[in-house]
Assembly symmetry: C2
Homo-oligomer: 174 residues x 2
């Protein structure tokens, strides 16, 4: 997961934009680079912060506009990650094969998973519903292996309360 090839990948994105005759401003180069080198899923605020570390003049609006552009050009995917921590969106550069995201409600960890079965499912859907698929988003919420074990232990004593669980409880007024 997050197998980054570094410069190679980065150039690919830049070239992709250039070949599509998209203007390459300093801001876009910077943002593209950050998105591609990212070791974790970035939200708009994190991307903005990272960009401003290099050049404080990069503006929030530019970040949102650039993300919208890249999404429209199908170069990045937008994720909700099960709204584990608020309603913000996360972004990642598109890769060869789609993958799904497993979000742990307890520790907040995000696991990635890809499978031929998913590809088969998509093909099946396309064929049977005559739908031309352009984006897929498969997000799964639950407990990761570690937290399943930890949860069993904690349940014996106090009753484990994780990230998402806390938020949900608060909202439901529990």
């Amino acid at each position: 997961m997050h197998t980054l090839t570094g410069p190679a990948k980065r150039r690919a994105l830049l070239e992709e934009l250039a070949s599509r005759h998209v203007r390459l401003t300093a801001q876009r180069r910077l943002l593209l680079g950050i998105i591609q080198e990212a070791e974790r899923h970035l939200d708009a605020a994190a991307l903005l912060a990272a960009a401003q570390a290099h050049d404080p003049r990069v503006n929030r609006a530019t970040v949102y506009r650039t993300l919208a552009l890249l999404k429209k050009l199908a170069l990045i995917d937008e994720l909700d990650l099960m709204h584990l921590e608020g309603e913000k969106h996360f972004y990642e550069a598109k890769r060869q094969s789609d993958h799904m995201h497993l979000a742990c409600f307890r520790c907040g960890k995000i696991l990635e998973y890809s499978s031929p079965t998913f590809e088969r499912l998509k093909a099946e859907i396309a064929e049977r519903s005559h739908f031309a698929i352009s984006v897929t988003r498969l997000e799964i919420g639950g407990l990761c292996a570690d937290c399943r074990a930890a949860g069993r232990d904690a349940a014996a004593t106090k009753g484990g309360d994780g990230l998402k669980e806390q938020r949900a409880n608060a909202r439901a007024g529990l």
Copy 2:
């Protein structure tokens, strides 16, 4: 799709809440009923409007709090429907088997689709990643059968621009 059994289903939800010792206020009964009888996916605003049609005193906050409660109790699923029209969430009563949502970027139509392949995929994920799945959300964006055809026609003349496409274009400043 949207095969509603009416009263039967409604009672089921009420009883489910009662059996869990959840207080059944007039507001909750009303909201539950609306959610279960709904013929389409409801967002918080639509749910509020529908509720207020019966009783104008139902408050926005109560709607959000009730949705949070039902989500926490795993009685409803929250959907993003590919953010086709803003960032609001949609809700639907949970059913026996999970299904995915196909969102048409052009006409905004939402199709539902369920498949044993999806069930197999979930089983595979659970087994291989040792993840305890509690919620899944599979959303697919693209063009529905009708719009694929319409798009081909329109492309010949003006170049079809649909709901989501318009918003995306606007955001990307195109």
